[in-house]
Amino acid sequence: MKIHKLVYIIMPLSIIVSFAWAPSAKYLGESSRILFFHVPLAWVSIFAFLVAGVYSIIYLSDKKKKYSFIEEKAYNSATIGLVFTILTIVTGSIWAKISWGSYWNWDPRETSIVFMFLIYIAYFSLRSSLKENENRAQISSVYMIFIILTIPFLVFIIPRMSESLHPDTIINAEKKIHMNYKIRGALLFSIFSFTLLYYYLMNILNRITFIRKKIDDRYMADE
């Protein structure tokens, strides 16, 4: 059995752990369990874009064309990243409504994720507008590298520059984790299972890309 297929077992286990094993957070009540979905979704959305950036760097530096479908893999990773970003915004809004009384509060972290979302939408618009252009892969890869340069600002710097409704980050300025060990365990397990889901989805999308390319090559050969 391939490792990514473990997601069929790990994911439901993680859901059960999040509800049945982990306690709810003090003061926040049962709504705090959204944490086990919201944080892993946010993590995967950033991770997926970082992977897309790395693939883009490899694509641009690979002059001898040693690797195949690298730019397409970057696109696939960004696609998954975009879906996870939307889910992060949705779960965050639900949690915000319960905790802060409104779906949207223009909190620095909320604003930065919207910026990230718009920047990625621009990547897909750019890539689809260059369908006929033979330099599409290069231009998209360069844009993707610019995108990953914005991630440290949007994720780590801007949300820390002003007062936020969000609680302290898991690893805070004191370098201490103020979290119940069961909540921390369930959260880490959930992050692991969502990362595995990302890996599984990447595998499926990459296989579809590979099949599509093979079919295209065969048609070209026949013509």
């Binding site: 859901i15 049945a20 099949i211």
Partner: protein, 40 residues
Amino acid sequence: MDANLKFVMYTILIIWIGLSLFLFKIDMRLSKIEKEIDEL
């Protein structure tokens, strides 16, 4: 466990089962196509 909490957990589990069945079906179909392409 609270009844409401149970309801949310089972709802998420059912959504996951539906999604995993969908993904499993795609996975199987892709394996079949890959085999056919290799045999060509």
